[in-house]
Symmetry: C2
Subunit: 209 residues, 2 copies
Amino acid sequence: MQRIPDAAIRRLPAYLRWLTECQEERVTSVILGQATGYSSEQVRKDLAYFGAFGTRGVGYDVLALREEIYRILRLDRGVRAMVVGAGHLGTALVRYVAQGHQDVQIMALLDSNPEIIGVQVGSLRVESVERLEDIVRELGIGIAVLAVPKEAAVPVADRLAECGVRAILNFAPVAVCTRYPEVFVQPIDLTLELQALSYFVGQRERHSL
Amino acid sequence: MQRIPDAAIRRLPAYLRWLTECQEERVTSVILGQATGYSSEQVRKDLAYFGAFGTRGVGYDVLALREEIYRILRLDRGVRAMVVGAGHLGTALVRYVAQGHQDVQIMALLDSNPEIIGVQVGSLRVESVERLEDIVRELGIGIAVLAVPKEAAVPVADRLAECGVRAILNFAPVAVCTRYPEVFVQPIDLTLELQALSYFVGQRERHSL
DNA sequence: TAATGTGAAGTAATTCACAGCA
DNA sequence: TGCTGTGAATTACTTCACATTA
């Protein structure tokens, strides 16, 4: 059994979205590829890492494939998430994820500022970051979204790792390389993205990613 | 002269940030690598794509290297950006980028909703998306940040591409594969990121990315 | 026959290992 | 001596090509 590339995992949610939105009963790797922007071979290989879900000569059953990807991504188990930092970005992220009825649910929103603790944001009430460990354990939080100022990011990430959070989506403008190898950190750094785009603005003939 | 990997470009802003924040006069690839979470070989190779900026046996001059990366990323020319969509996410992004005195400046914020056109967000006033083409030309916008609902994303992206925007940072939950190969599209899809993290939550022994 | 699943080939990116130079 | 710069080796990922099967 071979190792599955991270890149393949990262494409599965895109396939899943199309399968959820489409009205068809069957789909081929060519169609799914065109819809998501990948090659048909890529689609087939990604799916084949996890099993033979298709029918030769026919394609894939949309409903069945949707369920398979759902299971592969462990969305069937309903992983729970939490946002730390209820500033502009944190509250926007909560509202954004809440608006689409998501399978990854945001269960809590934390902040350190006493003035916003208790404030209602969507269906959530801002709680004190002091209760971080309690909340992670009580709600069984697996994923944390970091939307705190850069000074707070590393200490908060360490606390998250220590109390058993398994994955962190880090919006803070600082590298969070936790000492805990079992915690997966995915950085999303707006400033760095914009600066990289600045380079591509100056390039000719680029294609979408 | 070889092609420079996109991945290398995407690391340069991280190096730049550390060089800007650090107080040292010199730096080695080992130190810069540790600070940013990459290997020293990676740092050296990334920099060497663009020239020999270091001194053997010594390392790199922080100030000089900072200027070099600044120039490579074309931040010295001051590329201008614009946010389309003044909902929760769009306004949060504007405030977020504005708070750090950035080298990529956000010059305009657009929306289609008449009720929020004219509203002040930070130092910007929300303008009508009808004026998109005018604004891009008047202000010389090179980068657009898409924070619109998914229905609007593709048509807006097409308009952006058509009037000369060179790079799009797409937060809308839909694949924007523009027909214009000269436009670079970088998707940041929160839902897809969270779903991918759900997979990694179930994995043992992962390391940060 | 039409589309999957998969080894093999090819391409891209990273790491290694060390020559070269202050 | 210490650290850069870089070809070579390795690893990771993608595309090709086709045998396979409903």
